[in-house]
Symmetry: C2
Subunit: 153 residues, 2 copies
Amino acid sequence: MRPMSSEADGAAPLSKRDFEALAQFRSGIRRYLRFSEETVRRDGLTPQQYQLLLALKGFPGRDWATVREIAERLQLRHHSVVELINRAQAEGLVERGPDPDDKRLVRVLLTAVGERVLARLSALHRAELHRMRSVLTLPLWSDPPDGAGGSVA
Amino acid sequence: MRPMSSEADGAAPLSKRDFEALAQFRSGIRRYLRFSEETVRRDGLTPQQYQLLLALKGFPGRDWATVREIAERLQLRHHSVVELINRAQAEGLVERGPDPDDKRLVRVLLTAVGERVLARLSALHRAELHRMRSVLTLPLWSDPPDGAGGSVA
DNA sequence: ACTGTTGTATCGTAATACGATGTATCGTGG
DNA sequence: CCACGATACATCGTATTACGATACAACAGT
């Protein structure tokens, strides 16, 4: 297609500015996750537990999810999620329930406590995201990274 | 729904849709980090090592940084960064150099190998970010989170 | 009922960020 | 130029957690 570019990959080399943009975005993620960690730990949760609660409450269309679905959303192996649920359940944040149709499935849902904590923490996260929007905005290179020489020059 | 609410924070309660947006964004982060991990591991790096390299090459104005500066950008404790650098140095990705002015400082910089690997990986990351832009775009609530019940889409 | 597939759970292991602590270098006041 | 506190880098032992390997339970099709 493109006769250009001497790069083996077919990807245009990044400029210093590209690296800076990429690094800034990654750093933004780190900062947001750090904020999240400190915030949730103040309420006695681990970051993973918060993610679990959020995945449940934020599941499209429902308020619960199966182990597998959670694993997919959190990008973890199923058995890692099982352990995560165990810990969260021990803390009284979530509970397991049976699925009426398929007895292999386990429905994971929030407890009243989990609901309350999550609501509180999520509000704080929403506010922080708003504050951090400048660093967390995607470094959008003009177009699909393909055209010659990159954005600036 | 009751107009009356007991959130003492002054923060408006989140709607189901808000939770879904928040969860989707968080999931997007997880996915991106997962992609990153798998990508860099294929080249023999750990995610932390990639972040280190990127932080160096992407440092504003320079292409080296001190331990402290890296710790700040990666949101880690200084001594965690020391260990990270040790591992990366053992792999031949970075090297330490003295600072001419202040002998307490250690300049961390990329080796030729580090440069090459980073360039390759960063191009892949840039492309992936572009692909993921829809899920990684900030859930921008109309305005400062305060006004009533979120946006209606 | 038999067999392959899917979903959940258990156990031992490896990786890594951290707190506590130690050492070198800097800057400044006496 | 020496003493002192502050700053920067380094080392060690510990705790948390995601993982691979493995096992068990329930489903679906023949």
